[in-house]
Amino acid sequence: MSDAILHAVNVRKSYILGKVVLKVLKGVSLAVQRGEFLAIMGSSGSGKSTLLHILGALDLPDEGTVVFENQDVFKVPNARRDRLRNVHFGFVFQFYHLLPELNVLENTLLPGMVGTSFLGWFSEGRRRRRYAAELLDRLGLGERIRHRPNELSGGERQRVAIARALVNRPQVLLADEPTGNLDAATGKEILGVLKTLNQEGQTIVMVTHDPVVAAAAHRIVHLADGRVTNRKA
């Protein structure tokens, strides 16, 4: 626990669906070690995506705390939390979620632009651009930086999403079913990318329902019925 970079304690979350209160997380505690590749596994509806969102400060828990580098993520002002998402966390989604109007490079640069002022961009833009291009090159997209998302394959789009997640050099990469929308071969390729990143020291938390995918991680946490279990769901 001493080297935990991200630490969730007794996180509870429920949604209201019509008249039914749906308890998605019923007190989840979890620690992510620095440099770890953690997989959160569970069946559909087990609350694993919600947990990931809460870990990444994208969603708010009803109860419980999330501590990132010794600060309670949900006790800081909104602006600070937005800043955490911008700088310290990187998200990769199942459906890539790229902006269709922007090309590959621009999509990758987006978090950088969010964190930089208009004037700051004049001084920093070039450096950020170079880093983003490097990142895309490493991910095998060096030739595609001027293409728009709709001109790319699924695997390529997911690699752009990974580049975008990494562009601000986050401490934690949060991936929500990153291979869920890809065929087996492409999924394997994306998984390879994540593994390589992890080997270089990137902390990764990945959500998946697929045991084969989860097997790529150092450690697997099973989630069932809103709780962490030791058994496979």
């Binding site: 937005d82 979620h97 109007e101 987006l110 632009m113 969010v114 964190g115 002022s117």
Partner: protein, 551 residues
């Protein structure tokens, strides 16, 4: 813990780069935004055109109003009889150490109504007859600028008794004007620019190749003269200056065709009114014959189609408004009728404070008139005297146009709110379509305020682009507004929107005040931003987890 992205600690990134980037990108890539840009563009052009034309119209009205009056008037507004002691008052004002130094010139004027008849053509017209001292009057207001013959033959127009200037052929058969008239023409010709010379309305139907119209000297006059040639002939009659529309017709292009010759006889019939406001039964209407000396155009059709100007003293005498001493046969007492004038026009020296001088003159009049009330037959004529600035005098006229200007601008401003609604709708649709994208932007750390900022910047960008195009269109349209009307008239004569007889001025004002344009442009930007507020608010409330849940 010092990754590259963390190098600039900032709590609120209101000015983040992505806002500018995304709003410009949306402006280019979302075609629907063009509707908003077009709406702003048209509204800005519309308001600018309307405001500029109305403002120009108002400015022209004000200039003309001032040009007709001088700076201040002293008059008895409520009666046709005029008021007493005008000359004494003028003299006193000029001698006053406080007021005198500010006065450039002051002159009395008589206004009355009458009938003008041209004996040659036996045409009769109603007229507003003014008695003026031409030498003073031309210094007080812009009257001289509107004189036709005086412009081309400087120094030849007078209201004094005069004969008919007649042209006659030389030995070579070329018709020439009397030597003094010809010399005046040459003087103008020498001082005129080439453009002015080219624009001089020389009527080619007349044989002497000069501006205006002159009778040929009759044969019997030529025969009787010991020096036959062009000359002044006929009996001496006092001069009269007529409003241009009294003695000329205007063609479609706005040029005047004059149908009276210089020196032609003009009969004026007037109705004298006594001091007590009675028509004089004993004499009935009075009549006098004048010679047409010149025509004058103030540019106000209502005036130019009615005006006749004759010499002040002559009119005063005709109307029995002059100073008279007589003995009442019944009582044997000496009776004095003090001279009367309708108005005194005062021109102040440049830089004088019009209101301060007006107040001083008001005070002066009170002190001046008080002791004299007992001397006159009808003291009411003295009590009713007011001192007004040119603006106050023409208030009803100017204010009407002023009100019209603001009313029209407000109306068009209200119409322009359609643009705000359109921007609101367009942006709302964009936010609706872009909910997922907003979620993405938030997921990478954009604040709610920042996302709202994208759309407010977007609104501002729509305002900047639409306003700029609209301003250019508006300025060009106003600049060429007369040509636009000419084009419309060419397509269909009924399309003439600016009838000079209705609107006083023959051309539509075509100047844009750059400050007005800048102001309207700024308002367009602000209004466009306001139009984007609802959408921006909606965008700020997007919950990223919800927006990103599904593809």
């Amino acid at each position: 813990m010092s990754p590259a992205g963390n190098s600039q600690p900032r709590s609120e990134l209101i000015d983040s780069m992505y806002k500018f980037f995304l709003c410009l990108r949306y402006l280019r890539k979302r075609r629907i935004a063009f509707f908003a840009v077009a709406a702003v563009c048209l509204c800005v052009a519309m308001v600018l055109i309307v405001f500029s034309v109305m403002d120009g119209f108002l400015r022209m009205v004000r200039d003309r109003s001032r040009g007709m009056l001088g700076d201040l008037v002293v008059e008895n507004q409520s009666s046709l009889q005029g008021f007493y002691f005008y000359q004494e008052f003028i003299d006193e004002l000029k001698a006053d150490p406080q007021i005198g130094p500010h006065i450039q010139e002051a002159t009395p004027v008589i206004y009355t109504y009458g009938v003008v008849r041209y004996p040659d053509s036996q045409i009769t017209k109603p007229a507003q007859v003014s008695g003026i001292r031409l030498d003073e009057y031309r210094k007080v207001n812009d009257f001289e600028k509107g004189l036709f013959y005086e412009k081309y033959y400087p120094g030849t127009t007078t209201l004094a008794p005069q004969r008919i200037p007649g042209c006659a052929p030389t030995a070579e058969g070329v018709y020439v004007l009397p030597p003094d008239i010809e010399a005046a023409w040459q003087k103008w010709w020498a001082s005129a620019t080439p453009q002015e010379r080219a624009k001089a309305p020389i009527d080619k139907r007349w044989p002497y190749n000069r501006v205006g119209q002159y009778w040929p000297v009759p044969l019997e006059e030529l025969a009787a003269s010991d020096r036959p040639g062009p000359m002044w002939y006929g009996s001496e009659l006092p001069g009269i200056i007529l409003g241009t529309d009294m003695c000329a017709t205007r063609d479609e292009k706005g040029n005047y065709e004059r149908y009276h010759c210089r020196g032609e006889e003009v009969q004026v019939t007037l109705v004298p009114i006594t001091e007590s406001g009675q028509l004089r039964d004993a004499t009935g209407p009075v009549r006098d014959i004048f010679r047409f000396a010149d025509d004058c155009r103030t540019g106000v059709y209502d005036i130019d189609s009615m005006a006749a100007y004759v010499d002040f003293d002559r009119l005063q005498k005709l109307l029995n408004m002059n100073y008279r001493e007589w003995t009442d046969e019944d009582t044997g007492q000496k009776v004095v009728n003090h001279a009367r004038a309708s108005q005194v026009q005062i021109k102040l020296k440049p830089g004088a404070d019009v209101l301060a001088v007006r107040n001083a003159i008001r005070a002066r009049w009170d002190a001046f008139s008080g002791p004299r009330l007992a001397l006159v037959k009808n003291p009411n004529l003295m009590v009713g005297v007011r001192v007004l600035t040119w603006e106050e005098k023409q208030r009803t006229f100017i204010e009407a146009v002023e009100k019209e200007k603001y009313l029209v601008t407000i109306l068009f401003g209200i119409i322009s709110f359609v643009a705000v609604l359109l921007i609101g709708c367009v942006f709302y649709m964009i936010v609706q379509q872009k909910t997922r994208d907003i979620g993405i932007i938030k997921s990478v750390g954009a604040t709610s305020l920042g996302v709202a900022g994208i759309f407010i910047s977007y609104g501002a960008a729509v305002g900047v682009v639409g306003g700029a195009v609209g301003t250019v269109i508006g300025v060009l349209f106003v600049h060429y507004i007369n040509e636009v009307q000419d084009l419309l008239k060419w397509i269909s004569p009924k399309a003439e929107v600016w009838n000079p007889q209705v609107y006083i001025f023959e051309r539509i004002p075509n100047e844009v005040n750059p400050w007005h344009a800048a102001f309207i442009y700024m308002v367009a930007i602000v209004v466009s931003m306001l139009g984007s507020l609802i959408a921006a608010n909606k965008a700020a409330r997007v919950w990223p987890v919800e927006a990103l849940r599904y593809e």
